[in-house]
Symmetry: C2
Subunit: 187 residues, 2 copies
DNA sequence: AGTAGTTTTTATCATTTGGTAAAAAATTGC
DNA sequence: GCAATTTTTTACCAAATGATAAAAACTACT
């Protein structure tokens, strides 16, 4: 809880009243490895702040899995389109480890946004940051080949690298596990 | 101007006062084919609403061009990261045709956001939509091969297809022009 | 230690895409 | 209409990645 408070203050401070209202409505939930936080077709009703653990957000097409994003400790994420429009999700989210999550519900956030200008600012910043990160990822995928993308991931995600298996990393990079294994062997 | 008003009302209506304040500070600018709206290294100081014409947002790496997005009539766009953080842009933006643009300055939007809750909402929605679109594009790039991405582009952008040359389309798809030509020949 | 299950690596061949070069077609300016 | 320029296509070979299969390495459980 302290971590989430810290995160909020760092990211976009809310006033006392909004902060209290937000914290009154937080829920904490535990997931075992393999548990679903969200399934394709369900509406994503929460922002997820990871206190501890690791998640992946993914979908499957033609028996191949594609990972959109890993959920990492002390970061806030959601399935954006589903959350924002409250329509069925195109992504599954599951826990890759025993995971503890602080949940912020859509209805609560929505209420808060309408009531407090600062909450709206908070969410605007969150969406902006998401858009920025996505843009970078698109550039990366287009301009770098798989080897370079792998190296970049290693450089920027050293903290979680040991906790992600090769198959999942390959799914994130958009290549087969065999290709990734080959890439690593070449070094 | 009427188009932009219509766009705003559709997208996220502002109250009378905010709307008037916004419209007082709009500027309209004309660009010739090949003119730069923004160069890499400059700070993106505007939201761009395209009244007429077509633009591309791109960067170059190893002599290869990569297009992030095409700017299309009656759509609002910007170089997100640069605009939001007011730091130097990693992208160029140029006009592909004679283009008329309604400009909304950062400082004005910022003022408006601080003053009017509704403007903040407007911008939150804009950022959310951007993030959503980016997520879709990432999924697309990862899951579809070049042929399928080309087919998808044709289906969804028929309106501007004739106005984009093959080289630019290839740059958007992330492949060489020769590959794209080959893909089209196969059909 | 041994078995079963999972993860990673290796191998082989097919397919896709890239790099380079050049020809063909279309567009522009005079 | 013709020359110059730009855009698109074709061709050939190289490199990257995919598909499939199987072996090897690692993990968990008893």
């Amino acid at each position: 809880m302290a971590d989430f408070l810290h995160f909020c203050n760092q990211f976009s401070p809310l006033n006392q009243e909004a902060m209290e209202e937000l914290f009154e409505n937080l829920k904490i939930k535990h997931f075992q490895k393999g548990d679903y936080l969200l399934k394709i077709g369900e509406v994503c009703k929460h922002l997820y702040f990871i206190n501890e653990g690791l998640t992946k957000t993914f979908f499957i097409k033609d028996d191949k899995e594609f990972i959109n994003v890993f959920g990492i400790e002390n970061r806030l994420f959601t399935v954006f389109e589903s959350y924002v429009t409250q329509t069925p999700s195109n992504f599954n989210v599951i826990a890759l480890e025993p995971t503890t999550i602080t949940l912020i519900s859509y209805s609560e956030m929505d209420k808060l946004c309408k009531k407090h200008h600062g909450a709206e600012t908070f969410f605007r910043k969150l969406a902006s940051l998401a858009a920025t990160k996505m843009t970078r990822r698109i550039s990366e995928i287009l301009e770098e080949n798989a080897t370079e993308r792998y190296n970049l991931f290693v450089k920027e995600n050293n903290q979680i690298l040991q906790r992600i298996n090769l198959g999942d990393l390959a799914s994130y990079l958009g290549i087969t596990q065999q290709s990734l294994s080959r890439i690593r062997a070449k070094k």
